[in-house]
């Protein structure tokens, strides 16, 4: 993993003592988490543990108020950034429940999103003295078709209205398509596996595996071990009650499967007493 040469290195993505509330109710109660380049992390936990809230807070959902702590991305504090700034900087959230936008075709939406994010990246590269390619409409269409084919999506999908009348599986595929086109540096996937049959799960996992690489960090939020048969995490974290209570390697997910959250929780409680 990173830091193997022993030098102190700034983590790519670092959440520190994060507290957040909605309507005055505290949901996140001091979350700590570090994701480095090339790492895939799985975050597991029971319903209501705060997993989705964490995902929303990372993306900048204005409904949540961060009361304490920080989120740093590539060394910068992102909490003051608007959601679109975060996206342009390379953060991505695959929503558990993507919103319907009637009348807006996938293609139009994707073109605008991809143009904004890619051009922002090009601006940044140029500001640093480099050069970068701005995406042309032709290049965009080619790219969209290519990624849709990878996700086994019909061409007609591009003309459908965003998430309108999509089946559960189609919604998840559409989220992965967006991720594939936006090429984030840090992707959070919120229960992308839920509601998928096994074939869809394979396709979606393949999409995720295609994106993952030495420069990309990923946080998979999931309920079940099942997804982790297709996407191999480097680290697994268990979240309950608004905190990450335990972190470990892939074996932790198996242990969870065997013992359940209650079993894990009691072990953690014992450990903290001793």
């Amino acid at each position: 993993m990173s830091g193997s040469n022993g030098a102190v290195k700034t983590p790519m993505f670092e959440i520190e003592n994060l507290h957040a509330e909605i309507d005055g109710k505290e949901i996140l109660k001091g979350v700590n988490l570090v994701v480095n380049e090339g790492e895939i992390h799985a975050l597991m936990g029971p319903n209501g543990s705060g997993k989705s809230t964490l995902a929303y807070v990372i993306a900048g959902d204005p409904r949540y108020e961060v009361t304490e702590g920080s989120i740093r991305f590539q060394g910068e504090d992102i909490l003051e950034w608007s959601p679109d700034e975060r996206a342009r900087k390379g953060l991505f959230l695959a929503f558990q429940y993507p919103t319907v936008i009637p009348g807006v075709s996938m293609a139009n939406f994707l073109r605008m999103a991809v143009t904004n994010v890619r051009n922002a990246r090009a601006d940044e590269a140029e500001a640093e003295g480099g050069t970068a390619q701005r995406i042309t409409p032709r290049e965009f269409r080619r790219l969209m078709r290519e990624k849709m084919a990878l996700l086994k999506m019909d061409d007609a999908f591009a003309t459908r209205y965003l998430n309108e009348g999509f089946s559960g599986g189609e919604k998840k595929r559409a989220e992965i398509l967006q991720m594939a086109l936006l090429e984030p540096r840090m992707a959070v996937l919120d229960e992308t596996d839920s509601g998928l049959d096994i074939d869809a799960l394979k396709v979606v996992s393949e999409g995720v595996n295609n994106l993952s690489g030495p420069e990309v960090g990923m946080l998979l939020i999931t309920h079940y071990q099942r997804l982790l048969n297709f996407i191999k995490p480097d680290f697994v974290h268990i979240m309950t009650g608004g905190r990450v209570i335990e972190s470990g390697g892939p074996e932790l997910a198996h242990e969870l499967e065997a013992r359940g959250y209650e079993g894990l929780r009691s072990r953690v409680a014992e450990a903290s007493v001793s």
Binding site: R63, P83, D84, G103, V104, A113, N116
Partner: protein, 466 residues
């Protein structure tokens, strides 16, 4: 950092004005002498002069309508009723006075004409200063003239239909138009002629306190087809201007007429327009009505379904921004059996803007097996904007199938967040949601106009949030 595109926040793009250099400008206010002078200058036949005077009489007697938008800011004595900018009409843009030509260049009309139109009429103040029609259409007997030339060159045809669809005493503003009308389009499409690309008229007000009263008459003969498009803009003044048009359309057996409006008057214009079509056996009339500009608009395009099999469709989009009231909708009157109609209205309100849907579906006794469907959707962009709905349904026949649904929605915060999480700014997210909302109507427009409509909405949306 990312540079935001530099667009003037909320500024009306067509608010520029030309210096006045006119051949004739009437005094302010309206008298019998004004009307007689207009008629004399145009060398009109007696019947038309008498029609004007009867209409003036009715206008003066008729009270202001008080059932719709607030018209208390209208001062009829302050308006200039007739302005002739130039002596002659151009058949090429070179023949049009330089400054007027420049104005239409800025509005993109000659360019659009070269690219995708079969004919163009351009009205500046009270007169049509430019007119063209593709040669092959002229040879097929299509007439596309300004209304004054139509009256001079085809008096019989004009006399047969003029004022028959909308009589001079229909309402106060139809009466006003009938008294002082000038310009507008006269179109005749002979039997079986189908005009493949649109004819366009463009209306420009330039002078302060101008009243523009164009009059349009379209006759679509048997099995013929025409798509007519009108656009309109004006300079921004602090005082009010008035645009009060009358549009009459006759669609004969098997014919089809589509009439598309992109109204983008500056926000000091009262836009009080009467539009009505009569559709005969198996004929189709379609109004596509986009209202973005003006201070107050009252406009309810109507279709009278006169004979069996006739079909009427009204698609209406209104955008009411700060200080605007868009009182728009549509009327369908089923006179004959087995006629069908559809009204789809979409309105967007923002800031202190207000949009009202006002519509009528009427089915006369004996008009059996009529089908009609009305859908009106309102979108509110914030807490301050307003919308209301006045759907009137009068059905005298039992065997009629009438549907009506209305929705009011707000832009959901989660929609904005979702789009922003994909790199769209808040303004861009809002525009995208609004454009999606009107998509069912935008997709009915020719591509160029759909793009224009989206662009205009984008401009209206600039700075609407945050």
């Amino acid at each position: 950092m990312v540079a935001a595109p530099q667009i003037d926040i909320g500024e009306y793009q067509y608010g520029f004005r030309d210096e006045e250099d006119y051949v004739f400008k009437s005094g302010r206010g309206l008298t019998r002498a004004t009307v007689e002078e207009i008629s004399a200058m145009k060398n009109e036949p007696d019947w038309m002069r008498d029609f004007r005077l009867k209409a003036l009489d009715h206008f003066q007697k008729r009270p202001m309508p008080n059932w719709g938008a607030d018209l208390s800011g209208m001062d009829f004595d302050d308006i200039f009723y007739y302005i002739r900018p130039t002596e002659k009409q151009g058949k090429t843009w070179e023949e049009v006075p330089e400054y007027i030509k420049n104005t239409f260049e800025k509005l993109g009309i000659p360019e659009a004409e070269r690219k995708f139109l079969a004919g163009v009429g351009a009205q500046y103040e009270s007169e049509v200063i430019y007119h063209s029609l593709r040669e092959d259409l002229e040879k097929q007997g299509v007439l596309f003239l300004d209304m004054d030339s139509g009256l001079r060159e085809h008096p019989e045809l004009v006399k047969k239909y003029f004022g028959t669809i909308i009589p001079y005493n229909d309402n106060k503003f139809a009466a006003l138009n009938s008294a002082v009308w000038s310009g507008g389009s006269f179109i005749y499409v002979p039997p079986g002629v189908r005009i493949d690309v649109p004819l366009q008229a463009y209306f420009r007000i330039n002078a302060e306190n101008m009243g523009q009263f164009e009059r349009t008459l379209i006759i679509v003969d048997k099995d013929a087809y025409v798509h007519y498009v009108e656009g309109c803009t004006a300079p921004t003044y602090t005082t009010n201007s008035l645009h009060s048009a009358v549009v009459e359309i006759v669609v004969l057996e098997g014919g089809r007429c589509r009439y598309t409006t992109i109204q983008n008057w500056s926000k000091n214009v009262y836009n009080l327009v009467t539009k009505r079509a009569a559709a005969y056996k198996n004929a189709t009339m379609e109004w596509v009505d986009g209202n973005l500009g003006s201070k107050v608009t009252m406009k309810y395009p109507a279709v009278w379904l006169m004979e069996e099999g006739a079909r009427g469709e009204i698609l209406s989009v209104a955008f009411a921004s700060d200080g605007q009231h868009q009182d728009a909708g549509g009327k369908v009157v089923h006179v004959a059996p087995r006629t069908s109609s559809q009204i789809i209205s979409k309105s967007i309100s923002k800031g202190t803007g207000r949009s009202s849907y006002r519509g009528l579906v009427k089915v006369y006794k004996g008009a059996e097996d009529v089908r009609s469907n009305v859908v009106c959707d309102a979108l509110l962009l914030d807490e301050t904007s307003k919308t209301d709905t006045y759907p009137y349904i009068e059905v005298e026949e039992e065997r009629a199938s009438i549907g009506h649904e209305a929705t009011v929605s707000k832009v959901a915060e989660e929609q904005i967040f979702y789009l922003m999480s994909r790199g769209l700014s808040e303004d861009e997210a809002m525009s995208m949601i609004v454009n999606g909302f009107i998509e069912p109507i935008a997709k009915e427009l020719p591509l160029e106009y759909a793009v224009e409509l989206n662009r205009l909405i984008q401009l209206e949306m600039e700075g609407s949030v945050g």
